[in-house]
Each structure stands twice: as structure tokens, then as C-alpha cells.
């Protein structure tokens, strides 16, 4: 897809081209980010308390979803505008099963992964037949399709959404009722998926994906099928976002069609771009900056969107390379 120039900055993902020095610099940022996140509960215990813990938990969950979207946009140049759909599938797997008395985390996660995997496979197979702006719009439409499906589920709250009676249990154990336990579960999932995605992007698979981003015809000529690689990445991203959705339902104790609306998908794209395309730690920073700024502004005024909207435009116009680019600018 030739219409996404300027997505070449891969601080973690281009070992072949980066020098040892900038590579070391690329390692510093994620280490700082994860060390800070590990210490948040201690800081929260000193002041701020439950609110800070909940806010950072939610931020990390969104960061998981943003990382998975970065695999698509940053690495594969597939601008999916329906990524919130997978958060919705994960969240509703928790909500619907919980309303039938099935609280086991593994059953819920299996349902989340199965539904998200199938949805990604089916819609990805159709969406990837198209290119460029058609891809943006068709993923948007599939996201909306799911949105309308959830609003019409009258048995599960319809428009109003559905409250979870309790958080998921782990083989009958009510571990996640503790906010601190949930925090560290989300932290562990974020860390694990960060390392897994980093390995994936650096692997042969990731290199093929980036090759397709640069020149699909050439990759096809040397024997790779772009469609199969892109579809695989699309399904992987969907699965990861579904895990984020399941965590989100547990954290907020609530699922609603609002999780799936196209504005949510827009938020996710913004997080990825704000952090810096093609940088996983950038996606985490982008998600954090997004939630913190939104939280701060909404505390300031009811009409915070009037500040947030122009801020978004200014970021697009002037901050190319995103926040992660600032850390890299010295190299």
C-alpha cells in the first residue's frame, strides 16, 4: 500500500539496519516504561489510591490494544478502522458468559479468542481483497456491523450495556477481585505481549510483513503470498485486542456497545500515531498520553472535546513521528 509513506521508523524491529548505539537507546525507553509501571501501585498506595490504580490499569489495557493495532498499521500498513470490534468481542465474551453464571477466566478467554479469531478471519479475508482507502472503509463498516449487533442484543442490555456480577474467577479462585492482583495481571499480560510482538516483528514473519508494506509486488515475485501473511497478522492483532477487551470488562465491571463504536477505533489509531508508528513502546506511550490527557481535560471542563479535537489536529500536522520519535531524535 503506497499511500502510507513515512512509516519506516522501527526502533525495536530493525536490528539489521540500526547501529549498536541507537539499538541500545531503543532498549532504554521500554525498560523505563515498564519499571515505572511496576512501581505505580506503590506510588498509588502513598497517594491517589484506587483512582490512580484503576486509571493506570485501564491505560495498560488500552496499550495492549494499541500495540496490536500497531502490528497492523505500523508494521503492515493495514489501516484498520474497526479494531475496537475485537475489544468488544473480548468484553462481551466476559459479559455474556458471566450473565449465564460462567465466571471462569479460561472459558471466557477461550470464547473471546474463538469469536475474535473467527471474526478476524472472515472479515479480514474480505477486507484484504481491497486496498488503501477501501480497506479503511470496509474495516470501519465491519466494526459498525458488530456495533449494531451488540446494540440489538436486548437480552444482554442492548444499548445500555451489561453489568458484570463479579470479576472472572481462575479455576474457582476469586483472585481478580483484588484491584492490585488485576493490576499485576494486566501488567504481566502487557509485558508478555510486548515481548512476544517484539519477537514476532523481528522474526522472518515480521520482516516479510514489512517487505509487503514497502513493496507487495516484489514480495510476491520472490515467492511470498502477501494475502496470507497479512491475513495472519490481521488475525493475530484481533486475538490480542480481544484479550484487552476481556481485561477491560473485568476492570470496569461493565460492557457496552460504546466499546465498539467507530469513535473507539479512531481513538486507538490516534494512540498508535501519537506514540509513533511502528514502535511498540510508542504505542504504550501513546495510549498513556491519550488517556491521561483525556482524563485531565475531562476533569477540567465538560466540553473537553473542544480542546482535545484541535489538539489532535495539531499533533497530526506538526508532530510527525509521534512521541517515541522525540526519544529517538538524537540518533
Amino acid at each position: 500500500m503506497a499511500d502510507v509513506p513515512g512509516v519506516s521508523g522501527n526502533d525495536e524491529a530493525e536490528p539489521a539496519t540500526s547501529m549498536a548505539g541507537s539499538r541500545r537507546r531503543g532498549q532504554v525507553l521500554p525498560i523505563v516504561v515498564f519499571a515505572a509501571l511496576a512501581l505505580v501501585p506503590f506510588a498509588a498506595a502513598l497517594g491517589g489510591g484506587d483512582f490512580v490504580l484503576a486509571l493506570v490499569t485501564r491505560t495498560m489495557i488500552l496499550a495492549i490494544a494499541a500495540m496490536s493495532l500497531d502490528l497492523l498499521i505500523g508494521c503492515g500498513a493495514m489501516i484498520s478502522f474497526g479494531h475496537a470490534a475485537y475489544i468488544g468481542l473480548g468484553a462481551y465474551s466476559a459479559g455474556i458468559l458471566s450473565s449465564h453464571g460462567i465466571d471462569d477466566a479460561f472459558v471466557q478467554l477461550a470464547a473471546a479468542l474463538a469469536s475474535a479469531g473467527l471474526f478476524a478471519l472472515a472479515t479480514g479475508a474480505i477486507s484484504l481483497r481491497t486496498r488503501g482507502v477501501y480497506f479503511i472503509m470496509i474495516t470501519l463498516a465491519f466494526g459498525q456491523m458488530l456495533y449494531f449487533l451488540f446494540t440489538s442484543l436486548a437480552a444482554y442490555g442492548g444499548d445500555d450495556g451489561l453489568s458484570l456480577a463479579s470479576r472472572s474467577t481462575i479455576v474457582g479462585w476469586r483472585l481478580l477481585e483484588s484491584d492490585l492482583a488485576l493490576y499485576y495481571l494486566v501488567f504481566a499480560v502487557l509485558g508478555g505481549l510486548y515481548l512476544a510482538l517484539r519477537a514476532l516483528i523481528a522474526s522472518r514473519f515480521g520482516r516479510v510483513l514489512r517487505g509487503i508494506r514497502e513493496n507487495p509486488v516484489r514480495m510476491q515475485a520472490i515467492g511470498f503470498s502477501p494475502y496470507r501473511y497479512q491475513l495472519t497478522a490481521y488475525v493475530i492483532a484481533g486475538l490480542i485486542a480481544a484479550v484487552a477487551g476481556w481485561l477491560l470488562a473485568n476492570q470496569s465491571g461493565f460492557v457496552s456497545p460504546a466499546y465498539v463504536g467507530w469513535q473507539r477505533s479512531g481513538d486507538l489509531i490516534f494512540m498508535v500515531v501519537l506514540g509513533g508508528l511502528g514502535s511498540l513502546s510508542g504505542a504504550i506511550i501513546g495510549a498513556a498520553a491519550f488517556t491521561l490527557v483525556a482524563e485531565f481535560l475531562s476533569g477540567l471542563t465538560e466540553y473537553w472535546g473542544m480542546i482535545f479535537g484541535p489538539l489532535l489536529i495539531l499533533v497530526v500536522l506538526f508532530a510527525r513521528g509521534g512521541l517515541a520519535g522525540l526519544f529517538r531524535s538524537g540518533s
Binding site: 499511500d3 502510507v4 509513506p5 513515512g6 498499521i73 489501516i79 478502522f81 472479515t123 474480505i126 481483497r129 481491497t130 486496498r131 488503501g132 482507502v133 477501501y134 479503511i136 472503509m137 470496509i138 470501519l140 463498516a141 465491519f142 459498525q144 456491523m145 449494531f148 449487533l149 446494540t151 440489538s152 442484543l153 436486548a154 437480552a155 467507530w262 469513535q263 479512531g266 489509531i269 490516534f270 500515531v273 466540553y303 473537553w304 472535546g305 473542544m306 482535545f308 479535537g309 484541535p310 489538539l311 489532535l312 489536529i313 499533533v315 497530526v316 500536522l317
Partner: protein, 306 residues
């Protein structure tokens, strides 16, 4: 009785489809000529509706309000182009999507601040408020017929302008090769601005026309925008003819689907689950239709020739 009901639904679908066409036409020309994805096109429709509501309250006459709303929508579109969009033409699609997303967030809140969050209602103009008998036992509101007529008239006007005027020729030429048109001495910037303003005015016109039949509220453009995207993707991006056919198709499928899906399903399921499933499937029909069309024709029904 059922036949009359079906006819009324077909007319409703036609009216909805024509409104969609007015919105999709501007969206598809802007994309076809400038390669610019404008997510904020839906808020231009919302602004049109609010302008109509505000001017109706001010002047007491809907017709007068419409006459004021049209140039205001045009100016509004030009201001947006000047302030934001003009700086984005050279950028990639991702930047278009994000920056216009910012415009949506801003304007939805701005409208809430100025007019309040509660929906406004605009009275149907007295002259057009009655119903007519189209067939024995079949009454239809005059105003909806007027919307259908106005939609068809604008479609015809647009067709004539694009195919038989110099401006239309430049628009068509710009859509197939903008740099070449520019090299021939046409001020392409000015052309872009004009096209943009006209697109905004068409969306504003659609918003103003539906103000008396829908509630005017913040965010009303968001869902319509998605539908307009579905229309131009099915029709083929940049093709006005495609937008026209696809808009009517979507309008009819959506309206008739919502109406008949529960009835049809009743033949297969018990009444309760039929109406439940019907309500769930009906809003998804158009997306299923889009997926089907794109599966067989990945560039839409009438792809613009390049």
C-alpha cells in the same frame, strides 16, 4: 393493505436513499478529485441541520431558513477547508483520517456548547405539513414527497453540472489527473476549494432538509457518515453515478429490511424470536450487502476510470 404498506416503505426508503446521496455525492467528489478522506463530512450534515433549526427559530419561516442555511453551510465548509483541510492534501490517508476525526470531536462538542445537548425539533412548514392520498387508502406526508423531489432535482442538477459544464469538465479532469489539469493552467487550488465548498453545501442541504423529520442533535452526523462511506464504497469511489445507485440501494435495503426482516423470519421462527432476530439482523443488512459487493467487485459497482 400490505401492498400499500410496502409502497409507503419503498417511498420512505427512496427518501432516505436520496438524503444519503446528497451526503455521499460531496464525499465522493472530494475523494475523487483531491484523494482526501473527510471524516468530518458527517458533521457538515449536522451543521446544516442546526443552521436550519437556528434560522427557523430566528425567522419563523423554514423556507427562509433554508435559503440562509445553504450559503452559511457553504461558507462553513470553505472556512474548514482554509483552516484545516488545505494543509492535509499532500499528506497520507492516515493523517486525513486522524485530523478530520479531530474536527468531528471538536464540532460535536461545540454544537453541544452552543445549542445544548437536548435534541431540537424543527416544525414541518405549514404549507407542506399535510398528507396526500397517493392511492385509495394510502396516505403519505407531503413533506417527505418534497424531500424526494428536492433530492431528485439536486441529483439532476449535479448530473448536468458535472457532465455538461466547464466546471464539471474540470472536476472530471481533476478526478482522473489533477497534476495534468494544473499543468494546463487551471488553478487547481481554487478548483479544490470550490469542490469542497459545494460538497459541504450538499451535506448541509441534506441536514437542513431532514431537520423537520428527524431530531437535530449532537453527533447526528456520525452514523450518517458511516452510511455515506458504505454508499461510496459500494458505488465505486469518485463515481457520482455509483453513489446515486448505491444510495438508493442502501436506502431501500435498510428501510425495507427493518420493516420486513421480522415478518419474513416469522415464517421460519416463532414470533418472539423472529422479531428479536429480525431487529438484530436488519441494521447489519447493508454491511452484509457491502461485503458481498466488495467480495465480487473490490473497487465497487462503478469504479472511476483512471
Amino acid at each position: 393493505m400490505t401492498l400499500t404498506l410496502a409502497l409507503v416503505q419503498i417511498l420512505n426508503g427512496l427518501q432516505f436513499g436520496l438524503i444519503l446521496f446528497l451526503i455521499a455525492a460531496g464525499l465522493t467528489i472530494v475523494f475523487g478529485v483531491m484523494d482526501f478522506i473527510n471524516l468530518a463530512h458527517g458533521v457538515q450534515y449536522m451543521v446544516g441541520a442546526y443552521l436550519a433549526a437556528a434560522f427557523t427559530a430566528l425567522t419563523g419561516s423554514f423556507v427562509l431558513a433554508l435559503a440562509l442555511a445553504l450559503p452559511s453551510a457553504l461558507i462553513f465548509g470553505l472556512v474548514l477547508e482554509l483552516l484545516v483541510f488545505r494543509h492535509l492534501y499532500e499528506r497520507d490517508h492516515l493523517s486525513h483520517v486522524l485530523a478530520t476525526f479531530g474536527v468531528i470531536i471538536f464540532l460535536n462538542q461545540a454544537v453541544k456548547l452552543v445549542f445544548g445537548a437536548a435534541p431540537l425539533s424543527v416544525p414541518v412548514p405549514e404549507l407542506l405539513s399535510g398528507t396526500v392520498t397517493l392511492a385509495p387508502g394510502m396516505l403519505y406526508p407531503v413533506y417527505r414527497l418534497v424531500v424526494i423531489g428536492a433530492g431528485l432535482a439536486v441529483a439532476l442538477l449535479l448530473y448536468l453540472t458535472v457532465n455538461h459544464t466547464r466546471l464539471g469538465m474540470l472536476v472530471r479532469a481533476g478526478a482522473s489527473n489533477a497534476p495534468m489539469v494544473s499543468a494546463l493552467g487551471v488553478n487547481i487550488r481554487l478548483l479544490f476549494t470550490v469542490v469542497f465548498g459545494v460538497g459541504a453545501m450538499l451535506a448541509g442541504f441534506a441536514g437542513a432538509m431532514v431537520a423537520p423529520i428527524l431530531s437535530v442533535e449532537p453527533g447526528m452526523g456520525d452514523n450518517v457518515l458511516i452510511l455515506a462511506f458504505v454508499v461510496i464504497v459500494i458505488g465505486g469511489i469518485g463515481s457520482i453515478r455509483g453513489a446515486f445507485v448505491a444510495a438508493l440501494l442502501i436506502g431501500l435495503v435498510d428501510t425495507l429490511g427493518r420493516f420486513f426482516a421480522p415478518t419474513l423470519l416469522r415464517a421460519l421462527l416463532d414470533p418472539a424470536s423472529a422479531s428479536q432476530t429480525g431487529r438484530a439482523i436488519a441494521p447489519m443488512l447493508i454491511y452484509i450487502l457491502m461485503a458481498a459487493v466488495l467480495f465480487f467487485r473490490p473497487t465497487g459497482l462503478f469504479p472511476a476510470k483512471h
